[in-house]
Amino acid sequence: MARPTDQELDVAIAGMLRLGVSLAAFVVLVGGTLLLRHPWSPIPDYTHFQAGGPGLRTLRGIVHGAVRMEATSIIQLGLVVLIATPVARVVYCVVGFARQRDRLFVAVSCMVLAVLIYGLTKGR
């Protein structure tokens, strides 16, 4: 396998980022359209914060809701795709640096990835 140059890596990463953002925006738009099927229903009180149910706060709950075609869950699913996009970028860099035989930056990228995974899984 040929070692990719820095420039090739850059262009591949940019393309991946755009794909992720476009996909996320599309899914959010689908959810938004479904949400507006009932345009005159009132919005909840947002002046004081209250955490919603697990249906919109956990991956499992979001996927369950999205399968049932619930508008808010589909929007959240799009946002999860969006959050996953930069994470995928870091994974891509780990692979890219490994192909360049750049051990130091494989280690640096893995550190960033570890912090991201901690934030996504252990965070509360």
Binding site: L35, L36, T85, V87, V108, Y118, G119, G123
Partner: protein
């Protein structure tokens, strides 16, 4: 208010915020959070949740243009992301500990700083210190070339530990306030590390998405990201910033930029005032 009215008003405000954020180079987050909190009277935690999501969208969306120009430095970005992501996790934890009054006050201070830094004049020259070799920068290969006036001009990072430290602070602000904190990131690279200004801004933009993703999981599991608010904000800010970037490429916007900086100053003062008087 009905869902239709709320989401369309929010969408319109977000397009404007994204547009303004792109023109000033500050990002949509610094505009949309005060608008949500002050105009829409939304709890600041919902505001920063929606803002953080829009920050990921604009950062990743804009990266395409910059990376093609070969300006952003992926290695420097990745190295500094160790600091910003750790900071972002600390910041996200702090949002649960700090009262919304304090979040508003800190937010206002960051707005004032960002407005000032967007108006500061750029010399465009690499400081004299840049000629000195830096052992850590050499070891980590934190250098590169960028397309300058005389062809490819080389640069090497200076004062790496200082830059790394400021980046940790930038990450903390990002996680605490739901913004990209691009102004602080540029400060770390441009001022502390002596990197060329264009390399600093584009690498900063590149780092914002990863930094924001570190706190986004914590925001989501706490319920800060509400779909009804985040949907129009994400789509609006993304659309507005794409429009802003197009205009930035075609027109000279110096006057417009100073005018918008004044708007940001006003928002910053209002946030601090609302925080102190307890209205937020």
């Amino acid at each position: 208010m009905s869902v239709a009215a709320f989401t369309s008003l929010l969408f319109a405000a977000s397009v404007l915020a994204g547009f303004l954020g792109a023109l000033t180079g500050l990002g949509g987050g610094v505009v949309i959070v005060p608008v949500l909190a002050l105009v829409f009277k939304v709890d600041i935690r919902y505001a920063i949740g929606a803002s953080l999501v829009s920050v990921i969208a604009t950062s990743s969306g804009a990266a395409v243009a910059y990376v093609r120009e070969g300006l952003s430095n992926i290695k420097i970005g990745m190295f500094l992301e160790v600091a910003t992501t750790l900071g972002a996790i600390l910041g996200a934890y702090l949002t649960a500990k700090v009262s919304s009054h304090w979040i508003a006050i800190v937010f206002g201070a960051v707005l004032l700083f960002s407005a000032a830094s967007s108006l500061r004049r750029r010399s465009g020259l690499v400081p004299a210190a840049a000629k000195r070799a830096n052992a850590l920068a050499k070891r980590l290969e934190l250098s590169g070339t960028y397309p300058g006036r005389n062809g490819k001009e080389p640069y090497t990072a200076q004062r790496v530990p200082l830059g790394f430290g400021i980046m940790f602070g930038a990450g903390t602000l990002s996680g605490l306030l739901g913004i990209g904190s691009g102004a602080v990131k540029v400060l770390a690279m441009d001022q502390a590390m002596g990197l060329p200004f264009k390399v600093s801004t584009t690498t900063s933009n590149f780092m914002i998405g990863v930094t924001a993703a570190a706190s986004a999981g914590i925001y989501l599991s706490r319920g800060y990201i509400d779909p009804t608010i985040a949907m129009p904000v994400m789509l609006g800010v993304l659309g507005g910033s794409l429009m802003g970037t197009q205009i930035l490429l075609k027109a000279r916007v110096a006057t417009l930029k100073s005018l918008f900086a004044l708007v940001i100053v006003a928002l910053g003062c209002e946030m601090i005032y609302s925080g102190i008087t307890g209205r937020i």
